[in-house]
Structures are given as structure tokens and as C-alpha cells.
């Protein structure tokens, strides 16, 4: 998902830079208050770990491999603020030292790969911790589901940015269906690796798992429950999402952009001549279809934003009382 230069339009690039920089400013302030002078070496090593962990190719099926993204894992192990900072550094270093991801694309790359997985994943994790049993198993199940969800959130965020900053006449619904559909599968690998990695850390140094600091974890013998919870929960969620996505994929390319154009979503300053041509082409397509796309875009956008915002609030709130607001 390391998007190159010019993949989304200039407006999207600028807005995402502002969003990412603002969030990271908050994260930086919070981290400085708690981690103090240990922050630089620990964050540095954390970033090196995430970078190396992305080289861990795990098997998917029949010898094909995928690799870890690590946003949710970093947030659960290091805390959401430090996690977001660490993955941001990884993305920035990849752009400036490895030519992986465009320099002008840094705003949306950081937002999609660092800020959203870290805070969204952390919020999902906290939510699941309340639902799942309060033991090691519940924690591992929550990690897996949160990691899976963080990958989906990232894919959904990319599709939504596409809605606003598309540079090609591929409708939102197709991008959304393709991105989320593929990431439903990629996320499973992310979930398995993240949850097992947290299990391993809990086994040897439970004090290093930031998310476990608040709870005293009892016996380790209950992991079976978690795996069952994880499998069932994951299955239900997968079915749900697949149902939505397939609905989407089967409906023909719709006129979302025409609506977006006519309602002024698309930047009128850009050279979006396609808005006109699309409008002409799709003026006759079903209105229900269009409204459904808009609805799904809205729901996906709202869920992502809410989760990320909630993750930030949770993370900020979890600090000593003298902490000032963001």
C-alpha cells in the first residue's frame, strides 16, 4: 500500500498531511510526558522491529506468502501513541531511504499505514477486551480481531481517499470492493501472526505488552477459549463484510462520482472533466444504487473515523490526571 507520487490528487495529499501531522503532534506530546528520555532509543528500536517484522513472510496457502503490516501489533505492544509514531517513522524512512512510497504521497501513506491502523486497531482492541473474557485468551482473541480489523480500516480509508482524490475514472464502489475484499484475506494472516506474537511476548515478558499493563493476567491455560472466540468472531465478521462487499461488486459501476460531482464533493478546481462525462453516462442508472454506494461510503468513513478518534481519546485519557487536553 505504499502509494507512489501523484496517485491521489494534490488536495487529498495536503489534507492527509495535515491530518497525520496533527495526530502525530498529539501523540508526540503524550509520549514525551510518559516515556520521557527513554523514548528515543525505545521508539528507534521499535521502528527497527516493525521494519524487520515486515520482512517476516508468512505462508498463506500453497506456498504463497504475505507479510506483516504491524500497525495494530505495534499499538498493542508499545501503546497507541508510540505505536503510531514508530510506524510513521518506518513509512517515512521507507519513502526517503528506500524509495518505497512517494514523497508527495507521504500524507496518505502515513495516515493509512500508521495512524489509522494504530489508533483504529487500539480502539477495536479496547472494545473487544470489554466483550471477551478477561484472561490471556481473551486478550489474544482481541489482538487477532483488532489486527484483522486494522487492515480492513486501512483498506477502507484508502478507498475513501480515492472517493475524494481519485485520479482515474474507477468508481469508489469498485475500489472499495477490491481493496476491502482482498484485505479481508490479507488481514487473516495479519491477525494470526499478531495474536501469536503477542502470545509469545506475554509468555516471556508480559510486562512489555503495553495493553496488558492495566490487567493482571491469570492462568495461561485458557487460550483455547480465545482461539474458539477468535475463529467464531472472525468468521461472523468475515461473512458480514463479504456480504456487503459482494453486494457491492455485483452492482454495476455506479454513478457515485456523478453524484459527488453534482453535489460538490469533487474539488471543482481540479481538472475533473470526468465528472461531466460520467454524469452524462450515468444519469440514467438507478438512484437506489447510487444512494447505497454513498451509504456504504458514509458508514465506512464514519466507522473508521469514530474508531480512530476513539482510539486517540482512549489513549489520551489513559494518562495521569495532570495531562492537558490535546
Amino acid at each position: 500500500m505504499h502509494a507512489p507520487d501523484g496517485f491521489l490528487n494534490a488536495g487529498t495529499a495536503v489534507v492527509t498531511v495535515a491530518l497525520s501531522a496533527g495526530t502525530l503532534g498529539v501523540a508526540m506530546r503524550q509520549v514525551k510526558q510518559t516515556v520521557t528520555d527513554r523514548m528515543i532509543p525505545l521508539a528507534g528500536m521499535g521502528a527497527a522491529f516493525v521494519f524487520a517484522a515486515q520482512m517476516f513472510n508468512f505462508p498463506v496457502a500453497a506456498g504463497t506468502t504475505g507479510h506483516l503490516l504491524g500497525g495494530a501489533l505495534a499499538a498493542i505492544l508499545l501503546g497507541p501513541h508510540l505505536g503510531a509514531i514508530v510506524v510513521t517513522i518506518v513509512v517515512v524512512v521507507q519513502a526517503f531511504l528506500f524509495a518505497d512510497g512517494g514523497i508527495t504521497a507521504i500524507g496518505y501513506n502515513v495516515l493509512n499505514m500508521a495512524v489509522i491502523p494504530a489508533y483504529g486497531g487500539y480502539a477495536a482492541f479496547s472494545l473487544l477486551r470489554r466483550v471477551l473474557p478477561h484472561n490471556k485468551g481473551g486478550m489474544i482473541g482481541a489482538t487477532g480481531l483488532a489486527a484483522w480489523l486494522s487492515v480492513l480500516l486501512s483498506a477502507a480509508a484508502f478507498s475513501i481517499e480515492w472517493l475524494f482524490g481519485a485520479t482515474a475514472p474507477v468508481p469508489f464502489s469498485q475500489v472499495f470492493a477490491a481493496m476491502v475484499g482482498v484485505h479481508v484475506l490479507i488481514g487473516v494472516g495479519e491477525a494470526v501472526i499478531s495474536s501469536l506474537a503477542v502470545t509469545a511476548v506475554l509468555g516471556s515478558r508480559p510486562d512489555l505488552v503495553h495493553a496488558a499493563l492495566d490487567s493482571e493476567l491469570g492462568s495461561a491455560g485458557e487460550a483455547r477459549v480465545a482461539i474458539r472466540t477468535f475463529v467464531i468472531g472472525g468468521l461472523i465478521a468475515t461473512l458480514f463484510i463479504t456480504a456487503i462487499v459482494s453486494q457491492f461488486a455485483s452492482s454495476d459501476p455506479d454513478g457515485l462520482e456523478s453524484v459527488a460531482g453534482s453535489e460538490g464533493f469533487l474539488d471543482s478546481g481540479q481538472e475533473h472533466t470526468l465528472a461531466h462525462s460520467l454524469f452524462a453516462d450515468y444519469a440514467t442508472t438507478g438512484v437506489a444504487n447510487v444512494s447505497m454506494s454513498l451509504a456504504i461510503a458514509g458508514i465506512a468513513g464514519t466507522v473508521t473515523t469514530l474508531l480512530v478518534a476513539w482510539g486517540i481519546v482512549l489513549a489520551v485519557k489513559g494518562k495521569p490526571p495532570h495531562t492537558g487536553g490535546p
Binding site: 505504499h2 502509494a3 507520487d5 501523484g6 496517485f7 508526540m28 520521557t36 528520555d37 527513554r38 523514548m39 528515543i40 532509543p41 528507534g44 528500536m45 521499535g46 521502528a47 527497527a48 524487520a52 517484522a53 515486515q54 520482512m55 508468512f58 505462508p59 498463506v60 496457502a61 500453497a62 506456498g63 507479510h67 501489533l73 505492544l77 514508530v86 518506518v90 524512512v93 521507507q94 526517503f96 531511504l97 528506500f98 524509495a99 512517494g102 514523497i103 508527495t104 485520479t167 482515474a168 475514472p169 474507477v170 494470526v192 501472526i193 501469536l196 506474537a197 502470545t199 516471556s204 515478558r205 512489555l208 459501476p253 481538472e271 470526468l274 462525462s277 460520467l278 453516462d281 450515468y282
Partner: protein, 254 residues
Amino acid sequence: MGVGHAHALYVHGHSPVHALAPQVKLAAIVVFVIAVAITPRQEVWAFGLYAVVALMTVALARVPALFVLSRLAAIVPFILFAVFIPFVGTGERIDFLGVLLSREGLWAAWNIIAKATLGATASIVLIATTEVTDMLRGMLALRVPAVMTSIAGFMVRYLELIISELGRMRMAMSSRGYDPRWLSQARPIATGAGALFVRSYERGERIHSAMLSRGFTGVMPTLVETRATPASWVLALAFPVVCLGMAILALVVS
């Protein structure tokens, strides 16, 4: 993804581009890439000019063309996506060798391929001619927060160590016959990732105490600042600024 060696991207040399101060190079590249990114796609001539500027810089830096091409592999997935667009894109269709393609889609594909290739080429030249420590110094000189550059510095410094640790773990696993083909066989990889995290974190703690014992007070000592002469600023920024000017002109005219 950034698979490879931390130093593999630096091409040793003594070209004029190597000699430039890092902050000058960084500024020049960023200006150039912004120019590329904002240029309206129908201004094909502008992209031609950018390509000439980029190729001139590659030649001036004496970076082997094959090296640039091999690093461009990072954008291949997006190129493939771009190639796909004319077939799935909506809008007016045009006949190309018997295949109906979307006119809008063709423009969009051109837009993505041209901008991604130019942007990546510029980044590759920067990386190939600037050592890691210089890059961080350049960022510091351009007022990037010191916390960010310090963390990035630590990351880069220890990256090779951690990656070779990963390599040793992998080798140990293979030598015991581990050759997974299905996701259900992934447990050893995950425990490996967990172990790697613990090792990295503990190493971070040891580094911190070593820093404290050497008198660390919470602020990283400032690195030696690299100075850039006004002449080198002018020299390096001349072409990118011309490009940016043309991009803005094209944006206003179109």
C-alpha cells in the same frame, strides 16, 4: 516493501550530486516531486521536460541506469493497477487495435505511470547519492523535529543488526527443516516475531542505560551541521524551481 540491505541503496561516487549538501538535495527533490505531482496530466510536454531533468540528474550523479531500473520495481504494483484502468474505467470508449478502452482511463493510466516513475526516479537519485547520516543531518537542517530524526537515526543504525538477527532466526528454523506452505504452519514465525520484539525492546533498554552512563540528559546532542553555500542552493534548485514554475503555469492556464 523495503526488502534489502540498509546500505545497498547508496552508490559510492564523487559526482557533483554526491558533493551537494544533503539539505540542498532534499529541498531540490521535494520541489521537483511537488512540481511533478501537481502538473495537469494533459500537459505532456511538461512531463517530457521533467523526464529530461531527471535523466540529466541521473547522468550527472553517475548512478547506473540498471540500478535505477531495479529500484523502480517498488512501484510495479501501481503500474499494474494503472495498466488495468483503461479496461475497467468508465466513460467514453475509444477503439485501440480492436479493443475498446476508456479514454478517461487511458489518461488516468498515463497520469499515474508518469508521475510515479518520475517521483520514484528522483527519490532514487537522492538515496543513491546521500549517505544515511547525511540524510538525517539534512532533515535536521530543514527543521524536521529533532525527535523524529533521532528516532529515525536509531532505527537506521540498528536496523541491520535486527535484520541479521532475523536472518539468523530464519536460518536456524530452516536448518531444522521448517518450510511452511500453509497459514496453519505459521506459529513458529509468530513466536519468532514475538522473540524479535522482546530482543529489540531489551536492546533498547540496554542502549538507554548505556546512554545514561555516558551522560545522556534527555536531549540528543546536536549533530554537526552541514553547511551549504548559497551557490550550491542556486545550482541545485535552479531546475526544480523552473519545473515548479512551469507546473504552476500549466495549472493556471489549464
